[in-house]
Amino acid sequence: MLATDAFADLARSAAAALGRPHLPVVTVAHPLGGVEPAAVRARADGALEAVVAALTRDPEPPAPPEAESAGRLEAPDDLDRFQEWVMAQGWGDGLPVLPPTPARVARLLGARRPDVVVARLAPRRALATVEAVAVNAALAGAGPEHLPVILAAVRAVADPRFNLEAVQTTTHPCAPLVIVNGPVRRALGLHGGANALGGGARANAVVGRALRLVLQNVGGAVPGRVDRATLGHPGKFTYCLGEHEEASPWPPLHVERGFAPAASTVTVCAAEAPHNVNDHGSTSAPALLRALAGTAATPGNNNVYLGGEPLLLLGPEHAHTIAASGWSKTDLKRAFWEAARVPLAAFSAENLARFAVIDPARFRDRVFGDRVPLAAAPEDVMVVVAGGAGKHSAVVPTFGATRAVTVPIEA
């Protein structure tokens, strides 16, 4: 296997997660992208000897790894020293955490069986038991009432359609955005109104943060080593909101996705940070569409390269402006899909050549003409109503090589 030196750790941990820590990895200087082919070929010349050795010599098998299973450790009693200790263990996200003492974890678990496996999480392929999820929820500051939502989110990200292996390791800044629907929002105070993504509601904060800690501690997405996001985004600390169903003129996300209105669900999508759409002037759907589509149709976002499901988070006032023009959610999706296109002239020649290989239909054969849509089909556009008063919405590009997954929240 070949990797650049900057990514050698990730290559080796990928091999180790497959039980093959002794798979030879030959490295060349980083980066390969954005480099003239002649310089890349020169790096191949320099790596030849190591490659021949890797292909013709059996590596020594390492000692069999010891099965690690979650136990307990002695930690400092002092809460300030405890923070430093947690970071040294590699369990934290930088913000203060609460100690996952046996008593606190037991309170989170209630009558649940701790050893039930919720999911196997990539890339580490470790088992997230109910107890392991509760330990991370305890670190994140969650209470017992939040645990069912967190467990549902863990099940959702482990669905193969979500492509967790790639989401966890990519250089792209995607984080699982947890969208909660149904009556559970009210029961938990899980907020979808004013400043829904901006803090102020405990349920939003702890649900998103607990999921992040599970992904890091069980899934193995250690920042900078396995989680290789070039920049990441602040939603990687926590990224959770309720849909503002009561303020929406349309059926909510979970009903669109086949659940009863009275069901409570979690939808996860691997999402970039939201980009605001300010439009205080438009009074009709076609007028407002110009700002929505114009903000979304940019040449650097992953949806234009890879398709997938771009997300529109519509403020309620914008949603009502659109609905007042007689548009259903389906109408909006189609109109947005047709309008939010990036002209091929916006891409560099090098990028066009690269994507002509990866997606020949759109970039070489030009099945959509000279303007590339953000998704393969209108129904791939996701529309969620959230937020409070004001004339703002957000476009949220997603990772592309992933699908949003909705699961029911079980008691």
Binding site: M1, L2, A3, T4, L10, A14, A15, G19, R20, L23, V25, V28, H30, P31, L32, G33, G34, V35, V40, R43, A44, D45, L48, V51, V52, L55, T56, D58, P61, P62, P65, A67, E68, S69, A70, G71, R72, L73, E74, A75, W91, P99, P100, T101, L121, R125, A126, L127, A128, A132, V135, L139, N163, A166, T169, T170, N217, V218, R354, I358
Partner: protein
């Protein structure tokens, strides 16, 4: 104080690697391009050099459908070639 460990249950099992041939003389080299930028340039050049310098028999080439997607045809690849070069990450 005692705290519980948040890392879940790792289930490591050591898997065997395929035996390496003692030399590449007469062997078929496989290239699985992982679709990262210039990965194909690097891997193709290495395969070309292997044929030139080690008397390997030739090269067969595949490409993953995208850098973030798994190759669907790994069994076919394993059955076809003697050794394989591929890329991981960038």
């Amino acid at each position: 104080m005692d705290v519980l460990v948040p890392t879940g249950i790792a289930t490591p099992a050591l898997a065997p690697l395929a035996r390496r041939p003692p030399s590449l003389d007469g062997r078929l080299i496989g290239v699985l391009d992982n679709s990262k930028p210039n990965a194909g340039v690097l891997l193709d050049r290495l395969a070309e050099l292997l044929v030139e310098r080690t008397r390997a028999a030739g090269v067969r080439r595949w490409r993953k459908p995208g850098a973030s997607r798994a190759a669907a045809n790994v069994d076919e690849i394993a059955a076809t070639v003697d050794v394989l070069l591929t890329g991981s990450a960038d």
